[in-house]
C-alpha cells in the first residue's frame, strides 16, 4: 500500500484505500481487544504483571478504549465509506490517493497518540483523553480528509438521488468534526470547572450518537439490501431514522451527569430527549428486519447477513437500556456501575462491531475479488465473538446490579469488590474469547488475500459457494 503514497491518483487501483483501511481496522481490533483482555485480567487478579508503571491498569485502560474506537470502529467506518460511497454513487472514489494518505496518517497519528496515552500523557478527560496536539492532528489529518473524500464522492456521483447510507455518511463525517472540535473546546481554550466536565460528556455522548451509531446503521442499510437482493423496506422510515437521530440523539448529553450539580432543567430536558432515542432505534431495527422478508435463510447461510442481523437484533436491548437507564428513576441505581460498562460494550462490541465486521468481510472480498478463505474460520470468528461478548455483557450486568445494590445500601465498598470478583473472572474469559476470535479473523482475511478463490468479473462474492 505504501508504494501508492507517491503514485499518480489514476494509477492507483480502485479500492486500494478501502483495503488498506480494512486490514488496518482488523489489526487495531486485535490490538484493542488484546489490551482489553489484559486489563480485565488485572481487574480479576491485581498482581498480574505488577511493579511497572507501563503495565499498570491506569496506563493501559484508555489505550484499550482508544485503540478500539479510533482504530477498529472508526477505521472500519472509513473502510466502508471508501467502497460503499462510490458504489452507491455509481462512480469511483473521489481521490484514491487521499484515501491512502488518510489511512497512512491515521495509523501514524493513532500509534503516536496511543503511545502518549500509555505513557500517562493525557488531558484527564474521559473519551477526549488525547492531548490537544493529537486532537489537532486527528481533526486535520484523520477526520477532515475522510470527510472531504466522502463529500466529494457524493457530489461527483453519477446517480440523481442519494441513497440512505450516503445521507448518513455525509452527515456523520460532518457532525463528527463539529462534535470533535466543540468537545475539545476546554483543551483549545482552557475552559475549566463544570464547563469542562459538561463538555467532556457532551463530546462522549455525541460522538456515539452522531458518529458511531448512525454510521454503523448506515452500513447495515447497504449490506442487507446488497447481499439479500431485497430493496430497502422503506425509504420513508429511513428518513424518520435520519432526522430523529439528528434531532433526538444530539440533545441528551447531560444525562451522563445526572448526579452532578448541572442545572436541573438541563438534566430533565436531557432525560426526556434520551427516551426519544427509541424513535430512531425502532425505525432502524424495523426497517432492516422487514427488508429481510423472504430471505431469512441467509441469516443462517450467509456470514455477512448473519453478522449484520445479529448486530441489528442487539440494537433492541441496547436502545431499551439506553433510553431508560438514563432517567432519574433508574439512573440513580446503576450510575457509575458495571452495568454501564456492559451497556457501553453492547453498543460498541455488540451492535456496532457486528455491523462493521460484516462490512469489512463483504468489502474486502468484493474489492480483492477473492472468496472468503474459510467459512469454518468465519463461523468460529462469529461464534467466539458472540459467546465471548455475551459472557462479558452478562457478567458485567450482574456485577453492575450488585454494585448498584451495594451503592444504595451504602455497603462497605470492599464487600462490593469481593462480591464482584467471580464476575471479573468471567469478564476476563469473555474478553479473551473476543480477542482470540479476532486473531482468527485476521488470519482468515490474510489467507483470503493470499489464497481465496478468485471471484469472476461481474459476480458478487456471496454468489459463490464457500469452499472450506
Amino acid at each position: 500500500m505504501l508504494k501508492y503514497l507517491f503514485a499518480k491518483n489514476e494509477d492507483i487501483p480502485a479500492g486500494s484505500a478501502a483495503i488498506y483501511f480494512g486490514f488496518s481496522a482488523i489489526v487495531w481490533f486485535v490490538i484493542g481487544t488484546g489490551l482489553g483482555s489484559f486489563n480485565a485480567a488485572k481487574l480479576a487478579f491485581p498482581d498480574f504483571v505488577t511493579g511497572s508503571e507501563y503495565f499498570a491498569f491506569g496506563h493501559m485502560r484508555q489505550v484499550h478504549v482508544h485503540a478500539v474506537i479510533f482504530g477498529w470502529i472508526s477505521m472500519a467506518f472509513a473502510m466502508a465509506m471508501m467502497y460503499i460511497t462510490p458504489a452507491l454513487g455509481n462512480t469511483r472514489l473521489w481521490s484514491e490517493k487521499l484515501g491512502i494518505w488518510n489511512a497512512f496518517l491515521w495509523n501514524v497519528g493513532l500509534s503516536l497518540g496511543l503511545f502518549l496515552l500509555w505513557a500517562g500523557l493525557t488531558s484527564g478527560r474521559e473519551y477526549s483523553d488525547f492531548i490537544w496536539p493529537i486532537d489537532l492532528y486527528i481533526a486535520a489529518f484523520i477526520a477532515l480528509p475522510l470527510a472531504v473524500n466522502v463529500w466529494m464522492t457524493i457530489v461527483t456521483r453519477r446517480t440523481q438521488g442519494i441513497y440512505t447510507t450516503n445521507w448518513f455518511f455525509a452527515a456523520g463525517t460532518f457532525m463528527v468534526i463539529i462534535v470533535f472540535l466543540t468537545g475539545n473546546l476546554p483543551e483549545w481554550f482552557h475552559l475549566t470547572g463544570l464547563t469542562e466536565a459538561y463538555l467532556t460528556w457532551w463530546f462522549a455522548h455525541n460522538v456515539l450518537g452522531l458518529w458511531i451509531t448512525p454510521v454503523a446503521a448506515a452500513i447495515a442499510y447497504y449490506t442487507i439490501p446488497k447481499v439479500t437482493g431485497n430493496p430497502l423496506y422503506s425509504h420513508r422510515i429511513g428518513h424518520l431514522h435520519f432526522w430523529s437521530v439528528v434531532v433526538f440523539y444530539s440533545t441528551p448529553a447531560a444525562h451522563h451527569l445526572m448526579s452532578a450539580p448541572l442545572p436541573e432543567w438541563l438534566k430533565s430536558f436531557a432525560s426526556v430527549e434520551g427516551v426519544l432515542i427509541l424513535v430512531p432505534a425502532i425505525a432502524f431495527v424495523s426497517n432492516l428486519l422487514l427488508t429481510m422478508q423472504g430471505k431469512w435463510n441467509m441469516f443462517v447461510e450467509n456470514l455477512e447477513v448473519r453478522f449484520t442481523i445479529t448486530g441489528v437484533l442487539m440494537a433492541i436491548p441496547l436502545n431499551m437500556q439506553g433510553g431508560f437507564q438514563q432517567t432519574r428513576a433508574i439512573n440513580w441505581y446503576i450510575h457509575g456501575t458495571g452495568w454501564i460498562v456492559a451497556h457501553a460494550h453492547l453498543a460498541l462490541l455488540g451492535f456496532s462491531t457486528f455491523l462493521e465486521a460484516a462490512a469489512v468481510y463483504l468489502g474486502l472480498q468484493s474489492l480483492m475479488k477473492r472468496k472468503l478463505y474459510s467459512l469454518a474460520l468465519g463461523n468460529m470468528h462469529f461464534w467466539m465473538l458472540l459467546i465471548g461478548f455475551s459472557i462479558y455483557w452478562i457478567s458485567m450486568t450482574i456485577a453492575g446490579l450488585i454494585q448498584g445494590a451495594g451503592k444504595i445500601y451504602e455497603v462497605p465498598y470492599i464487600d462490593v469488590v469481593i462480591a464482584e470478583h467471580p464476575y471479573m473472572i468471567a469478564r476476563w474469559i469473555g474478553g479473551t474469547l473476543v480477542f482470540m476470535s479476532n486473531v482468527i479473523w485476521l488470519y482468515n482475511m490474510w489467507m483470503t488475500a493470499r489464497a481465496g478463490t478468485v471471484v469472476p468479473a461481474g459476480r458478487m462474492p456471496h454468489e459463490l459457494a464457500y469452499e472450506r
Binding site: 491485581p46 511493579g51 511497572s52 499498570a56 438521488g161 475549566t192 440513580w332
Partner: protein
C-alpha cells in the same frame, strides 16, 4: 459538479439539517452556558484551584506531567514577613517563579459574582503577574471567600513562606493531582459523591460553584473503588496511605488496586536505595506463609512522587 447538487430536496434538506443541529447545539451548549457563568466560586473551589494550579492534565508548561512547576500549599503559623504569630494558622498557596497563575487570577470572571469583585478589590489579584513568584490566601468578607494576593497586600514572598515552614507543613497538592491524572487513579476512584445516595459513606455531593477554575475535574464515570472527594475526612492517616499505595493488599487483603510502589523512586526518606526485587520476594514469602510479617514499607523521600500523591489525597477533606 454534477446535476445532483442542484436537486431541490437536498437544498431544503441541508437547511433543515443545519437548523436541527444548530438548534440542538443552542439548547445543549448556549443556554447552559448562562447557568455555568452564574456559578459563584465556593471555598472548596478556591482551595482546589489554588492548590492544584492552572492545569493538572497535559499542558505545555508540564509536557511530561512530572508535576514539578506546581503550587505548594503551606501552613503558615506566623507572619513570614514580620515574624508575628498569627491569631490562627492559615494556608498559603505558594507559586514559585515559573508556576502558571491559577485560573481565577488568570480569568477573574471565572470566580463569579461577589468573589470576583472582592478578589479584584480587596484581594488585589490584578497585580499578580503570570509566572512571577506569588503567595495567595483564601480570605473572607463575612461568609464570602475571595482570593488574596498576599504578595501585593502584605509583601509575602514564596522564599519567606517556605523558609519559615517545616516540611510537614508543606503539601505538594499540585503535583499530587497531576499524578492522580497521569496514573489513571480516576479510572476507578470517582470524585463525585452522587446526589441520591453516598451521603453517609462518601460525604456530601458537590455543589454548582465547587469546581470553578478546576481543570480537569476528573469526576470519573466507572466507579470500581471508593469515591475520594472527601477521603481525607474519613481517613487522615499518612502511614495507612503509605502502606496502601505501596501494596494495597497489606492493609486490605481483598483490594484490587494496583501497587503504586514505583512512585517511591530509587531512594527512600533516609536516602537508602529501595530493593524492590527483595521486597517483592519477601512479600511473596509472607503471602505463602513462609514469613510471619510482611516486609517493612520504605518511607517515601520528601521529593518523591509517592509523597506528593499522598499529600493530595489527604488534602481531600
Amino acid at each position: 459538479m454534477s446535476l445532483g447538487v442542484n436537486f431541490r430536496e437536498y437544498k431544503i434538506g441541508a437547511r433543515m439539517f443545519g437548523l436541527a443541529l444548530g438548534g440542538s447545539m443552542c439548547i445543549t451548549l448556549f443556554l447552559p452556558s448562562f447557568d455555568f457563568r452564574s456559578a459563584v466560586s465556593t471555598d472548596m473551589a478556591l482551595d482546589k484551584q489554588l492548590s492544584a494550579g492552572w492545569e493538572t492534565g497535559w499542558n505545555i508548561y508540564d509536557p511530561l506531567m512530572l508535576g514539578k512547576n506546581k503550587p505548594l500549599k503551606v501552613l503558615v503559623k506566623a507572619d513570614p514577613k514580620t515574624g508575628q504569630a498569627l491569631a490562627q494558622p492559615v494556608w498559603a498557596y505558594v507559586y514559585n517563579q515559573g508556576t502558571p497563575s491559577p485560573n481565577g487570577v488568570d480569568h477573574p470572571d471565572n470566580l463569579g459574582g461577589p468573589v470576583e469583585t472582592l478578589s479584584k478589590t480587596k484581594g488585589r489579584i490584578g497585580e499578580a503577574k503570570n509566572g512571577a513568584p506569588t503567595v495567595y490566601l483564601i480570605s473572607h468578607e463575612g461568609t464570602v471567600p475571595y482570593i488574596e494576593d498576599a504578595t501585593a497586600t502584605m509583601g509575602w514572598t514564596p522564599e519567606m513562606v517556605l523558609s519559615k515552614a517545616q516540611d510537614s507543613d508543606i503539601e505538594h497538592d499540585g503535583e499530587g493531582k497531576t499524578l492522580f491524572v497521569r496514573e489513571g487513579c480516576w479510572w476507578c476512584h470517582t470524585l463525585l459523591p452522587e446526589e441520591t445516595q453516598d451521603w453517609q459513606v462518601f460525604g456530601a455531593p458537590p455543589m454548582l460553584g465547587d469546581f470553578n477554575g478546576e481543570s480537569p475535574t476528573a469526576f470519573g464515570s466507572d466507579r470500581k473503588a471508593p469515591d475520594l472527594l472527601h477521603v481525607g475526612s474519613r481517613n487522615s492517616s499518612r502511614e495507612w496511605m503509605m502502606l496502601h499505595f505501596f501494596n494495597p493488599r497489606l492493609v486490605q487483603p481483598h483490594s484490587i488496586m494496583p501497587r503504586f510502589d514505583y512512585l517511591w523512586g530509587e531512594k527512600d526518606a533516609s536516602g537508602n536505595t529501595i530493593d524492590y526485587a527483595k521486597w517483592r520476594q519477601d512479600y511473596d514469602d509472607y503471602h505463602a506463609g513462609k514469613r510471619d510479617y510482611p516486609p517493612e514499607v520504605p518511607v517515601p523521600a520528601k521529593d518523591s512522587e509517592a509523597r506528593a500523591l499522598i499529600d493530595w489525597v489527604l488534602s481531600l477533606k
